[in-house]
């Protein structure tokens, strides 16, 4: 583990290191990331000369500055808390000897939390935690108010921690438990094992998930809109209000560019933190199956307690959505009805099939893209790789509303016209939500001993064969993470697509938004339940696909140790 491995030799024949390949990736990123951003900048400066003032507003205007500071505090908190919670879930699933059903159960809970259907998710949270909600009533907290920083933090953490779980689950799964066992049998206390072995080896995964959650929170305008209350402004929400409420498209878009700065900062920090260290734990060497020394009971129960508590809370939230979807008018007429589902499958069927088609296509291309960018960035160390990594992250960092407008402006006129097509929706999803896959794959690649690939190449296998037979199976959990994320978010995201759905291509989430504005909460809840079912089916499908494609899966050293650690 600790030893430094020599970097991959540069003179090896390389397929994905080839110039044509690299050029293609840059061309695509240029077209779907840099070009829209450039057109947006042009739009910002096309106005009456107030552009510079608008760009700098988060620094000059005291209210906008407060919003910027709040955004940063929120994003840092969500990044930390969400990564910690995701780590606990991942540790619980991979390190506590749960029955297989238990592992699947906890993994499913994170999927559920992740689907977080737009609007109904927040409504459920206010029903449970809001004034007069289920929990405050139960605990007799009459003056308890969830709105503001705590509510926003809670809602965002609950929504985004599954992303940390997915990233870290793969990392922890691939981390040979015999290392921890060795430390334990040498007499290390549980805390020491954790501090000196487990945690340090997870740094790439922790850094990746922190970065993802930080960016996710920085771009989220919808959660603070519902949960922020009246004294907690954040920048993405201010931007949204500026554009749609103040009818100030240029001013709002201008403010969004400021959000790129903190994202760049955190990106550089995590690069700096993980560069130059080795986290290799997946080597070709056979480790003799060690006698498993299980983590102490106290730790086990503590972790199990925390994740069970969070699980209960998530069930409470989604239970309210499920119940609402089956009653006529909640609180007035609680009789059972299937009308809401009839509504979904008659008037909403088109939007469901459209959404599915777009999510599937985006998942396919987005996964290819994530793999290509990650492999290329891993090989191009230094500035070139860094630039590639950062550019691929840009769309992810911008608030959805702003990105949607950038795409609309870029592809509605000029050399490439794509508005009104399915392509623009797929491109938006693929080039935005590939970020999780890229981060996860990069973190996973850092665990693999390059000598494995070198051995394969040295034995005469081609680059492509090595990729297919050695590298790909080893980074499979990370690829799966990327695919699940892509599919789920492509299906459930709304802020960016609002500006890109067209009369021919509608989406389920837009239907939910419409139902909410028409006060049809029960119908919106039914749409949400259908969305959740689709996501679960799709994730089952993705798992099945991989089981058929790579029957052996990622096996760690020591054969079966990792089947124990697989995240379902």
């Amino acid at each position: 583990m600790g030893e430094r491995n020599p970097p991959l030799e540069k003179n090896l024949p390389s397929f994905w290191g080839g110039r044509i390949f690299e050029g293609t990736i840059w061309l695509l990123l240029g077209l779907f990331v840099l070009y829209p951003l450039f057109r947006l900048l042009l739009l910002v400066f096309s106005g009456d000369g107030a552009a510079l003032g608008n760009l700098l507003r988060p620094f000059t205007d005291s209210y906008a500055r407060r919003a910027l500071v709040n955004s940063l505090i929120l994003a840092l908190s969500v990044g930390t808390l969400g990564t910690a919670l995701g780590f606990l879930f991942a540790w619980g699933v991979t390190r506590i000897p749960l029955p297989r059903g238990g592992r699947i159960f906890f993994s499913s809970v994170t999927v559920l939390a992740f689907v977080s259907p737009p609007f109904t998710g927040s409504i459920a949270l206010t029903l449970v935690l809001g004034p007069g909600g289920i929990l405050p009533e139960l605990l007799h907290l009459s003056n308890f108010s969830i709105y503001g920083f705590p509510g926003t933090l809670l809602a965002e953490t609950l929504t985004y921690f599954p992303l940390a779980f997915l990233t870290l689950g793969g990392i922890l799964g691939a981390l040979d438990p015999s290392l921890e066992d060795a430390a334990r049998s040498l007499g290390s206390t549980e805390g020491r094992v954790f501090r000196t072995v487990t945690l340090p080896l997870c740094v790439p995964g922790l850094a990746a998930s922190f970065l993802l959650l930080f960016a996710e929170s920085l771009a989220d305008f919808a959660t603070p809109l519902v949960m922020g209350g009246k004294s907690f402004p954040v920048l993405p929400t201010e931007i949204y209000l500026q554009i749609t409420g103040m009818y100030d498209l240029r001013g709002g878009a201008a403010m969004a560019f400021v959000l790129l700065l903190p994202a760049l900062g955190v990106f550089l920090l995590q690069r700096h933190r993980t560069n130059g260290r080795s986290y290799v734990t997946v080597t070709g060497r056979e480790t003799p199956p060690s006698r498993r020394v299980l983590p102490s009971r106290r730790v086990k129960w503590a972790v199990l307690g925390v994740i069970s508590f969070v699980t209960l809370f998530i069930f409470l939230l989604y239970g309210t959505i499920l119940l609402s979807s089956f009653v006529k008018v909640w609180g007035v007429d609680n009789s059972f009805t299937l009308d809401n589902y009839r509504f979904v499958f008659t008037t909403g069927l088109n939007s469901i099939t459209d959404s599915l088609l777009i999510a599937l296509t985006a998942t396919f291309f987005g996964t290819l893209l994530a793999l290509s960018v990650a492999l290329l960035a891993a090989e191009r160390k230094g500035k070139r790789g860094g630039a590639l990594e950062f550019v691929s992250l840009l769309n992810y960092v911008l608030p959805g509303t702003v990105l949607g407008i950038a795409y609309l402006v870029a592809f509605n006129s000029g050399p490439i016209v794509l508005t009104g097509t399915m392509t623009i929706l797929v491109a938006l999803c693929a080039f935005r939500y590939d970020a999780a896959g890229i981060r996860a794959i990069l973190a996973s690649l850092r665990q693999i001993d390059p000598s494995l690939e070198e051995a394969s190449l040295g034995l005469g296998a081609s680059r492509l064969t090595t990729l297919r037979r050695i590298t790909l199976p080893l980074i499979l959990p990370a690829v799966k993470t990327g695919m699940r994320y892509l599919f789920t978010v492509s299906l459930t995201a709304i802020s960016a697509v609002i500006f890109l759905v067209s009369v021919d291509w509608s989406l389920v989430t837009v239907r939910i938004l419409q139902a909410m504005t028409e006060l049809l909460f029960a119908e919106a809840a039914a749409f949400s339940v259908v969305l959740i079912l689709i996501v679960f089916t799709a994730i089952g499908g993705i798992n099945l696909f991989f089981r058929l494609l790579f029957p052996s899966g990622r096996k760690g050293p020591g054969g079966d140790t990792l089947s124990h650690g697989q995240v379902e």
Binding site: L43, S62, Y63, I123, T126, L127, G130, P131, G132, G133, N143, S145, Y147, L225, V226, G229, K230, P233, L241, Q242, I243, T244, G245, M246, Y247, L249, V329, W330, G331, V332, D333, I405, L408, V409, N412, S413, G414, V417, T419, G420, I498, F499, V501, S502, V503, D504, S506, Q514, T517, E518, L519, F521
Partner: protein, 280 residues
Amino acid sequence: MKYLRFSSGEVLARIIAEKDNPQVDVFFGGIADAFVAGKKEDVFEPYVPKGAEAIPDKYRDGEGYWTGVAIDPICFLFNASFLKEHNLKAPDSWADLLNPAFKNGLLMADARTSGTAVSRLFSLVLALGEDEAFAYQKKLDENVQQYTESGAGGALPIARGQAAGGIFFIVDALEIQQKGYDVVISYPKEGVVYGVEAMGLIRGAKNPSVAKKFLDWAAGPGMQRIYEEKKINLIPTHPEVSLENPALDMKDVRLLDLDIEWSGENRKRLVERWVKEILR
């Protein structure tokens, strides 16, 4: 005909971004001040629909950039059991909302998000005068639980008893009442303004003749009767359309006429003042 449905602000942002290559022909049902803002961005084409002369002048743009098809007054919406519990009658004055019984119990739309909130702001400015309106809202702030992101957003929590009451467009207030929730609708005696639901032709529309036909139809009594048939609680602007629903009868309500042009010019300033003085 195909359509997309979004809030006025989102539609306007889209239309401005699509200006060089418009994707739609008509903007229908947006609040009039969005049209005033769009007129400045040069995204609308003046067109007076056939027969629109019958619609009173105050519901139409003088240059034909937009035509109002319905109006939507502001009202109070309160949870009936909350009022009963606290022995209160439905508020009938702006001052009633300052009652400490409502502390942390009112839901209002954020002035920057929705037509509802801007209309509330204009109502207060017209009814009380600008400076008094802001002094009043500062006091009112103590009773506000949350400023919601959409005009209708607060209606459900009020209906379910999570908040005492709030200020809404009548279309949303009646909608929630028709669902069966026990809520009370009332009006302040000082008067309220109303939102004008308007429509207009997009500059550079790809199908101008069809679009004009649609606008002609929508300005006529035929379309406006559909509102009542489909239980959409708007008040048609066409004088030939009569209303059966007593809840929409405004003869006892003091409606303040808002100069749309003036509101378009002063909206930004008043909303910014609201942010500066109330939110901070």
